[in-house]
């Protein structure tokens, strides 16, 4: 079946512009995660959605970052007034249920964001 998909694959933007990154999780997966991978760094948790519950936003680095998940499926990560330090690969993952930590997270190919 289809895996997690993300679009765009690459995004180049100018400092100060807003960007939207999209994630399509695996059908039937109720848990969705966003992570950020900066150059030479490991993955950093950003936000988590589980079904219709309130999201866990504890990893968002600033109020310029926001995310939504419509209809329990597609998610959009929005970065407003982008800064050069926002340049990174943004990875999305989904799993059957986030409530059980052993559930495997399946990752998308990521969006590489470059802020000039």
């Amino acid at each position: 079946g289809a895996g997690v998909s993300q679009s765009p694959s690459n995004k180049v933007t100018e400092k100060g512009k807003d960007v939207e990154l999209r994630c399509d999780p695996i059908s039937g997966h109720t848990a969705l995660y966003w992570y950020r991978q900066s150059l030479g760094q490991g993955l950093e948790f950003l936000i988590y959605f589980q079904g219709n519950s309130a999201p866990d936003k504890s990893g968002l680095p600033s109020d310029r970052f926001s995310a939504e998940r419509t209809g329990g499926s597609v998610s959009t990560l929005t970065i407003q007034r982008t800064q050069q330090e926002d340049s990174a690969v943004y990875l999305c993952a989904s799993s059957l249920r986030g409530l059980y930590s052993y559930n495997e997270q399946f990752f998308g190919p990521g969006t590489r964001l470059t802020v000039l």
């Binding site: 995660y33 490991g42 993955l43 950093e44 948790f45 988590y48 589980q50 930590s101 495997e104 990752f107």
Partner: protein, 116 residues
Amino acid sequence: AQTVTQSQPEMSVQEAETVTLSCTYDTSENNYYLFWYKQPPSRQMILVIRQEAYKQQNATENRFSVNFQKAAKSFSLKISDSQLGDTAMYFCAFNVGSSNTGKLIFGQGTTLQVKP
């Protein structure tokens, strides 16, 4: 704070030989899960192997096995009979079993190159 440390930024191994990647973590929790993920140049994160902390037996998946030392908080990955396709970045990751999000905490990663 819960942290994961990978002390080897880069490693190389000859094809068909064995290599071990190191990982240590820090947590005060007793119930948790440990993972090794592989990220090839395509950026697609792939789960290699998983270990439940309550299990004493080390996990194995074909050519991949772990050495889990709970008291030492160590979780190394051994790759036997290395293949060119094993060339990738490897991430050690951790999450807490009692967590209601399943979010992963990642190490910095180890870049492994398999040489012909």
